[in-house]
């Protein structure tokens, strides 16, 4: 039987950026980490699973971009100086940037599963996953959806207090 190549089959390492606490610099670190890895010649993608407060598109100056579909699913937006970092965020799906995504858990979980399985990441050395603060739906769903794949680990961010 033919087995379908999953959209994460070409991703070598997956890295979660977590905190628990908000406003400590998770998105900032995710962005800088991606840019640094790209500078070092790696193929990099960023998955922004902060559905209520997606910060990555603005940090990479692509807040006005839109997402398109291809045969294998959604095409990520390519960012960075050489347009070589692949990015997916709910920010690209909003009709207006100030639209609030007021969703309860089940709907958030559904979108996160889609982000994990339906984005055509292609071949990447690193997929960095930026998360919202807390230990709730987004975190549980992201880890559950990524577990069958090569989950490398988590980087935890904090401030001194």
């Amino acid at each position: 039987a033919l087995t379908e190549r999953t959209n994460l089959a070409g991703v070598r390492h997956i890295l979660l950026v977590l905190s628990g606490k908000g406003g400590v610099g998770k998105s900032t670190l995710s962005t800088e980490l991606a840019l640094a890895l790209r500078s070092a010649g790696k193929r990099v993608g960023i998955l922004d699973v902060d559905l209520c407060g997606p910060s990555i598109p603005r940090m990479l100056r692509v807040q006005d971009s839109a997402v398109h579909q291809c045969d294998s699913g959604w095409v990520p937006v390519f960012v960075g100086q050489d347009k070589a970092i692949a990015l997916m965020s709910i920010g690209f799906l909003l009709e207006r940037p100030d639209d609030a995504v007021v969703w309860r858990g089940p709907k958030k979980n559904a979108l996160i599963k889609q982000f994990v399985t339906d984005v055509a990441w292609g071949d990447l050395d690193f997929l960095i996953v930026d998360t919202p603060p807390g230990t709730s739906d987004e975190h549980i769903s992201t880890v559950e959806a990524l577990r069958p794949h090569q989950l490398l680990g988590a980087v935890l961010v904090t401030t001194p207090q």
Binding site: V24, G53, I90, P106, G134, T135
Partner: protein, 322 residues
Amino acid sequence: LAAQLSLSLAECPGTGSAQAGRAAACQGCPNQGLCAAGAAGPDPAEVAELRARLRAVRHTVLVLSGKGGVGKSTFSALLAHGLAADETKQVALLDIDICGPSIPKMMGLEGEQVHQSGSGWSPVYVEENLGVMSVGFLLSSPDDAVIWRGPKKNGLIKQFLRDVDWGEVDYLIVDTPPGTSDEHLSIVQYLSATHIDGAVIVTTPQEVSLQDVRKEINFCRKVKLPIIGVVENMSGFVCPKCKNESQIFPPTTGGAEKMCQNLSVSLLGKVPLDPQIGKSCDRGQSFLAEAPESPATLSYRNIIQRIQEYCEQHHLQEEKIM
């Protein structure tokens, strides 16, 4: 090709709502079948129970942001302390940040437990007229992670409102987690049993924060929650040695002031950065009491006064109508 999910202000109506499973926003939600087959609406007995329990609460203020780490809990704690300075007022502080409850530490109540009495759960009292409730008091160890999905969080929030014996309260302050999700929808729904004076929205000057705060303002408008105003925290730093002012978080797009102008909401005030604030929070002390001369204290006090005035005016207007 357009994205598959339509996201313009689409929101979950709530699993207990009459629209559950039937609203436009329910399309594509994996819970849709369950919701559509479920109860027709919120349990009237439940609403009546909450209304009875909260009848003795005169004013309710929600502290929101959208963005994490901007100072919601810090502000909630200081608002509570500020209001409770008047010993004739009874103040209640409810922390509904279930994953990251900061209030116990900030109020110097770490390690306290919740006791049950015949009339329900007792809040933990900092002063005779200042009672606090938080999931933090229910954990066996402060490092225990509360890894709950939405429905379980909603259940606890309902319990906080239904089972805590708050008694007669002049001000109920509700500290929330960042975002616009379960906790926020639930608190607005459950508190519709009583009335909410309004929301105070906290931000910092940079655009990355304002971008989330605009969403929060839209959330408030969507659920018809009045906005008392916006507080801009971490708004500049004055060096105590050389007195030079620096913008640690530069307001690259005009800060809260510009945003408030654009969205026609009130700017309640700007609070400068003061390292003493973080220290007081870590030590569970009131910054207002520890640093009465700080420019930040002056800002906080002005903001607290404006909130009080708003609530009192509101109350007078309602009495006139009645």
